[in-house]
């Protein structure tokens, strides 16, 4: 007995242990699994945030390799892979240093510079510019040939025969600047005394004989005294000069002739450095007190453009000595007299990096052609700074503020993510898109709120039980209609009909309520015995017939109304009287379509809120002699209002994020304009349109993620608020 009971107990204990184990395992499995899934779902937010964060990261600039020059260079150049460092030395020697190996390769000699003494020398992307002591100026173009031998890249530097510019002066010019294009020197501007001389070089090749004709034409203009720095743009349209007195002068070149100078005061200290940003339209002005400012020409037409100060950057502690602009976007390095270096981006007004030159007393800096490095050098050493600067063009100001772009007459909000030319920078203001989102939402809620809230009120308060059973599923079906179908109907079916019958739509807004009231009145004056024959709920089909009749009447009357009020053509009338153009795919069409999509969402929540109003309150009100409508407006509505509000919020969230309807029913014009006759672009449509073409990890890609994050955060906050309101309401009245 004892043994058997012992056995029994042990068996029972055995099975129970296994079950307990499986129970515990299940508990952990469900807990961990459930938490993991919830974490994953919420991790979407974290992931998107992670994709956005690099936008606002600073640039990283790290010292890379060093190179010792065997003899002091006057200027250096490099190729886009940083294979070679070409150093121009005195007497026309160009030394080639292999940057990877640190070796020297055979050197070049520039023809005509042997034994010459330099007054100045400079390097620009494309070549060397040398000012000789005898007054002649010499521009030698430098090219890099890139070949692939198998999978090995071979870069060969080529120093071309120099172009010599002579303008009859005895000594070197006070200041000069050359235009060097990919084909060679294009021209040169120089200041000597009170004269600005511009030499234009044109090289024409005779197709028949193959003879090359090298022609240099000369033009002159008066120049203010004490010009220290000169800059000429690559296209040869403008020459800019800076004087010791802190003045900027600008000469326009037209038909190879210089026009008289316009002069503008910079203010403050004398100008010590001048340079161009990418595209040669924005002028960088550095001053002796360390001030850095960006200027460009502003004017409505080409003849009335004035050099205007656009933006200022934080001052350097010492005089600015040199600028070096990126060849990829509008960022630039500035170097001051104390060796302080700074990387900034013009449009976004961001200082991306600040630091000190790795070599003492730098004599020059060079931004590498791929904008991935900066060469800083003095007479003995060259230091390469490796730059990682993926998203310089984004800042809070560039994304949400007014930005003054080149060629514009004033700062503006603008979205234009891609452009035809490389020199025109992408315009990335999210403001027009946020504006478009709110505009679309506004027009859709204009329709949806009254339609949904009134219908919900009727359904919960006045509709018979029998019909309510049908109405709710129909509204749920309405909510589940794919937005692509609604968008297609809006874009291809509704839009042309609204365009041709806009007046009919307007008169419908008036006629339909009138016909509803008329139908209600007819129903009321009908004898009670007749009315009693129909079941409750018959009023809804009657109202439908009334609406259809009203709409039909409105369509019939629209022709005469249009000719009486709008001269027969509403669109022409609109253009004539307000100057607004009627765009077929406009906010009204989207509002109607999106309103249709939002109605069931607001309806569901509002109906819920109305139904949750305790019956006791309604009964009390009716018992006190209040009319049905008085009860609804004075008792039901105030009680349910937080719920209705939360329904509207949820509808708002849906309208904000709706994509397909907007993509299909409106053009995607990013304009800021409240006109209902114009289209717009929303955040979601913008993402859908642009992300397939946005390169992974690029600035546009991350900005689109930022707009997605905005959408996410926005709808999440709105929905949470709405949900909290609803829960509070429910718990408040559950006790009643």
């Amino acid at each position: 007995m004892g043994i058997s009971s012992n056995k029994d107990r042990s068996r029972r204990a055995e099975t129970s242990a296994r079950r307990r184990l499986s129970d515990r395992f299940a508990k952990y499995f469900v807990t961990i699994g459930g938490l993991a899934i919830i974490a994953c779902v919420l991790g979407i937010f974290v992931f998107i945030l992670g994709e956005v964060m690099p936008l606002f990261a600073e640039a990283t600039v790290a010292p890379g390799r060093f190179l010792s020059f065997s003899s002091p260079p006057r200027a250096v150049l490099t190729d886009e892979y940083q294979t070679w460092c070409l150093a121009l030395e005195d007497r026309g020697i160009v030394k080639c240093y292999d940057l990877a190996a640190g070796r020297e390769a055979p050197e070049f000699k520039i023809d005509g510079l042997e034994g010459q003494v330099y007054a100045r020398a400079a390097a620009k992307h494309g070549g060397f510019h040398v000012v000789l002591a005898d007054g002649r100026e010499c521009v030698a173009a430098v090219k890099f040939n890139i070949d692939f031998k198998g999978s090995v890249r071979v870069v060969t530097p080529i120093v071309q025969k120099p172009a010599i510019f002579e303008f009859g002066a005895k000594g070197p010019s006070d200041a000069s600047d050359a235009r060097i294009g990919p084909e060679g020197a294009r021209g040169l501007a120089a200041v000597s005394g009170d004269k600005l001389i511009y030499l234009n070089r044109s090289v024409t090749k005779n197709e028949m004989t193959g003879e090359v004709e090298d022609d240099i034409s000369k033009t002159e203009a008066a120049a203010p005294a004490n010009i220290r720095r000169l800059a000429v743009d690559l296209e040869g349209q403008n020459v800019y000069g800076a004087t010791r007195d802190g003045e900027l002068a600008r000469w326009r070149i037209q038909n190879n002739k210089l026009e008289p100078a316009d002069r503008v005061k910079v203010g403050g200290a004398p100008v010590s450095a001048l340079g161009f940003l990418l595209g040669d339209q924005s002028l960088l002005v550095g001053q002796e007190d360390g001030g850095v400012s960006v200027w460009f020409l502003v004017g409505r037409n080409t003849d009335s453009k004035i050099l205007t100060r656009i933006r200022d950057f934080k001052k350097h502690p010492l005089a600015v000595t040199r600028f070096e602009a990126s060849t990829r976007e509008k960022s630039f390095f500035s170097l001051d007299a104390g060796g302080g270096l700074r990387l900034a981006h013009s449009t976004s007004e961001r200082i991306l990096w600040e630091g000190r030159s790795p070599v003492a007393d730098p004599s020059g800096i060079l931004y590498t052609p791929k904008a991935d490095g900066l060469f800083v050098y003095n007479t003995e050493t060259l230091a390469v700074l490796d730059i990682h600067n993926p998203h310089p063009e984004t800042s809070v100001k560039a994304l949400f503020g007014k930005v003054w772009y080149e060629n514009n007459i004033e700062p503006e909000y603008s979205w234009q993510s891609s452009s035809s030319s490389n020199d025109v920078e992408p315009k990335l203001s999210l403001v027009p898109i946020v504006y478009g989102t709110l505009k679309g939402t506004f027009y859709s809620l204009l329709l949806a709120i009254p339609a949904a809230v009134l219908a919900a009120m009727y359904t919960s308060q006045f509709l018979s039980w029998g019909l309510r059973r049908f109405v709710k599923p129909i509204v749920e079906i309405m909510a589940s209609l794919p937005s692509v179908v609604i968008g297609f109907l809006a874009g291809l079916w509704l839009a042309p009909r609204v365009a041709s019958g806009f007046v009919a739509i307007i008169s419908m807004i008036l006629m339909v309520p009138v016909s509803i009231v008329a139908a209600g009145f007819i129903g009321r004056i009908l004898p009670k015995t007749f009315r009693a024959r129909f079941p409750q709920g018959t009023e809804i089909p009657c109202f439908m017939i009334a609406i259809a009749a009203g709409a039909w009447l409105a369509m019939l009357s629209s022709g005469p109304v249009e000719s009486a009020l709008f001269g027969g053509n509403f669109q022409a009338w609109l253009l004539r009287t307000t100057g607004a153009e009627y765009n077929q795919n406009n906010a009204i069409v989207v509002g109607m379509a999106m309103g249709f999509a939002v109605i069931p969402i607001i309806f569901a929540v509002a109906e819920d809120a109305f139904s949750n109003v305790p019956k006791t309150l309604i009964s009390a009100s009716l018992a006190l002699g209040a009319h049905r409508w008085q009860t609804v407006t004075r008792v039901v509505l105030p009680t349910a209002s937080p719920g209705i509000f939360s329904g509207i919020m949820i509808g708002f969230g849906r309208a904000v994020g709706e994509t397909m309807i907007v993509v299909m029913a409106t053009g995607v014009t990013a304009i800021m304009d409240w006109s209902p006759f114009n289209g717009f672009r929303t955040l979601s449509a913008n993402i859908a349109n642009e992300i397939p073409e946005a390169p992974h990890g690029g600035t546009l890609y991350r900005i689109l993620f930022l707009s997605g994050l905005l959408l996410f955060g926005f709808t999440f906050i709105i929905n949470t608020a709405a949900e909290l309101v609803r829960q509070r309401l429910r718990s408040k009245y559950s006790t009643l």
């Binding site: 079950r19 299940a26 807990t31 459930g34 899934i37 919830i38 779902v41 919420l42 979407i44 992931f47 998107i48 949904a452 219908a455 009727y458 006045f462 129909i474 749920e476 079906i477 309405m478 589940s480 209609l481 794919p482 692509v484 179908v485 968008g487 297609f488 109907l489 291809l492 079916w493 041709s500 339909v512 309520p513 509803i516 009321r524 809804i540 439908m544 609406i547 259809a548 027969g568 309806f603 409508w629 969230g653 849906r654 994020g657 994509t659 397909m660 993509v663 993402i687 859908a688 397939p692 992974h696 997605g708 959408l711 996410f712 709808t715 999440f716 929905n719 949470t720 949900e723 909290l724």
Partner: protein, 581 residues
């Protein structure tokens, strides 16, 4: 108490002086009016839904019905043949060209005269003769209309339809003899033969040439991998040599097959049907390129009905033709079903597990409440955001890593690192998991406590109770969630635009070549197909009927799913309405 009421009532009643009844009546009338307006709002909403569904149904279902071909004789003596699509009233007849055709009627509208005219939108087809597919005709330029019995409507595989009068059949350039002198019988016979030949060609291309192409591609990748791995390895070298030899012999085989295919294809070109257009020009249409030959005006109601059923069948079970403007949408239906099924495999376990945790295992408190709200609200986050996440996370991050690890030999062309059906399904699973969680939670919550307590009292552990009692009882709730999720996934387009949709999928994500299921392939989707047909197509007039039909099919599917879910849910609620504690 009564005194209190009186004090309240008195000042109100006093000024009107016995007008309380009157006031009440006007308030009542005003209130009634407002109530009518509320009712009107509800009626408007219902009417809108009915109109929308009706519009889609009428347009979508009528497009398969063959319209008669009408021969127009104009007052200026010219002729045109086409089918009428639309008639509209234009308020004034402006100076349209004499033949009454203008490309875009709307822009030509002057709209300032009082007199109006009817105009008709006609499909002239025959785009390959330089004719505009659709055009407007002014009613008052028409002298006479007839419905000629011999006018033929020809659907072709590579061009839009051709309308004309069949005149003769030519074989290899010479007039062919007709079967019993009846051109139509002959056309039908030859057409039957050619369609058979087309089938032969298709299987030949797919099975013979397709398998060789596949094998060649496999060998190419294998070789690339070998070259990349070991340049000098002797074993690798012999392997490479072997591959080269095989490739060479296979290429030869391929060439022979290609030649054979060309010969077969020549057979399609050999017989041509000569047709005369209404303008009198003669055109040759190869019978091998004809998909269907119909003489609409010769068909009775029965014939049209059979044609209708055939066209509906073609729509549902055939591939698209002619840049998606004609033919069927089978790949889109198949792709949608595949994607929704794949998504269901992901969404059900995850959704149910999370719901189980939230409802059964987590300690109900503030945090769980917050989590519940957060999950709930994820359902309201715009779908495009999920699409973006899918692109960034699944396609670029996960897919990119898979490519680098397992498919390095075919880089830089991505295998998993681009949109595909797997990523699309997973993205939609994320999008719909809140729906499943919410519905499953509701299902779990509806299971009465008595049932659980009964199970526990009988000695079952919590896990056993959950697994054997609670989950079966909550199954309708879970199913409801799943169906709602599937319906949403079937109709969702925005996220799919980003993660793996194509206009025209040449291959299916499920087919006969191993490993049968290809989760990396792109696919077609009904919703995206609608978008694509409507907005990426130049000839919208020609595709519109198909868009309507596709839209109708899509809302029919989505609505059927939703109605099932709703009735299931109602059933569940009724079942536990009394029992839940």
């Amino acid at each position: 108490m009564p005194a209190a009421i009186e004090t309240v009532m008195k000042p109100r009643a006093a000024p009107a002086g016995g007008g309380l009844r009157h006031r009440k009546r006007t308030a009542g009338l005003w209130g009634e009016t407002m109530i009518w307006l509320c009712g009107g709002a509800l009626a408007l909403n219902l009417l809108l839904v009915i109109c929308l569904v009706g519009l889609l149904a009428v347009n979508g279902l009528s497009c398969f019905w063959q319209k008669p071909l009408i021969l127009f004789e104009f007052k200026d003596g010219s002729w045109a043949l086409g089918e009428i699509h639309e008639t509209e009233f234009v308020k004034n007849a402006d100076g349209r060209s004499a033949d009454g055709r203008s490309a875009d009627g709307r822009s030509a509208d002057g709209r300032n005269g009082a007199d109006g005219a009817l105009r008709i939108k006609v499909r002239f087809a025959n785009v390959d003769t330089g004719q505009q597919d659709f055009g407007w005709i002014d009613e008052n330029t028409i002298e006479r209309r007839t419905e000629p019995v011999d006018a033929a409507y020809i659907e072709r595989f590579e061009w839009s339809p051709f309308i004309g009068f069949p005149k003769e059949i030519r074989r290899d350039g010479a007039a062919a003899t007709l079967d019993g002198g009846d051109i139509y019988k002959t056309v039908d016979r030859i057409l039957g033969e050619k369609l058979q030949l087309r089938g032969v060609i298709q299987t030949f291309e797919k099975e013979q040439i397709g398998s060789i192409d596949e094998e060649l591609n496999r060998l190419r990748l294998r070789k690339k991998a070998l070259v990349g791995k070991s340049g000098a390895d002797a074993e690798g070298q012999t392997e490479i040599l072997r591959i080269d030899k095989t490739v060479e012999s296979m290429n030869r085989e391929h060439d022979v097959l290609e030649k054979k295919l060309l010969e077969l294809k020549k057979g399609l070109e050999s017989d041509v049907l000569v047709l005369e257009t209404a303008a009198g020009a003669k055109r040759e249409v190869p019978i091998g390129g004809i998909a269907r030959f119909v003489r609409p005006n010769d068909l009775g109601f029965g014939g049209r009905s059979i044609l209708y059923i055939r066209r509906v069948g073609e729509f549902l079970f055939d591939n698209p033709r002619n840049l998606n403007t004609e033919g069927g949408i089978f790949p889109a239906i198949f792709g949608t079903v595949m994607m929704v099924l794949l998504m269901s495999f992901a969404v059900v376990p995850f959704g149910v597990l999370a719901a189980l945790y939230l409802r059964e295992y987590a300690k109900q408190g503030f945090i769980v409440r917050l989590v519940r709200i957060a999950v709930n609200n994820l359902a309201g986050v715009p779908s495009i955001v999920f699409g973006m996440f899918g692109l960034g996370f699944f396609v670029y991050m996960v897919g990119g890593s898979i490519d680098q690890l397992f498919f390095a030999e075919s880089l830089p062309s991505p295998t998993f690192g681009t949109g595909g059906i797997l990523w699309a399904s997973l993205t939609l699973a994320l999008l719909t998991v809140p729906v499943v969680i919410v519905a499953s939670e509701e299902g779990l919550a509806a299971v009465p406590r008595i049932v659980r307590e009964g199970s526990l009292a009988l000695g079952a552990t919590k896990f056993e109770t959950t697994w054997r009692v609670v989950i079966p009882a909550a199954a309708p709730g879970i199913l409801t969630g799943l169906i709602l999720a599937m319906a949403r996934a079937a109709g969702e387009v925005a996220p799919l635009m980003i993660v793996g949709m194509v206009k025209l999928a040449t291959t299916m994500p499920l087919d006969g070549s191993p490993p049968f299921l290809h989760p990396e392939r792109k696919f077609m989707h009904l919703g995206f197909h609608i978008y694509d047909m409507a907005f990426q197509n130049k000839n919208v007039d020609a595709t519109k009927p198909l868009i309507f039909a596709t839209s109708f099919l899509l809302i029919a599917i989505v609505t059927a799913m939703n109605l099932t879910a709703i009735s299931l849910r109602n059933h569940l609620r009724r079942k536990y309405a009394g029992a839940s504690v």
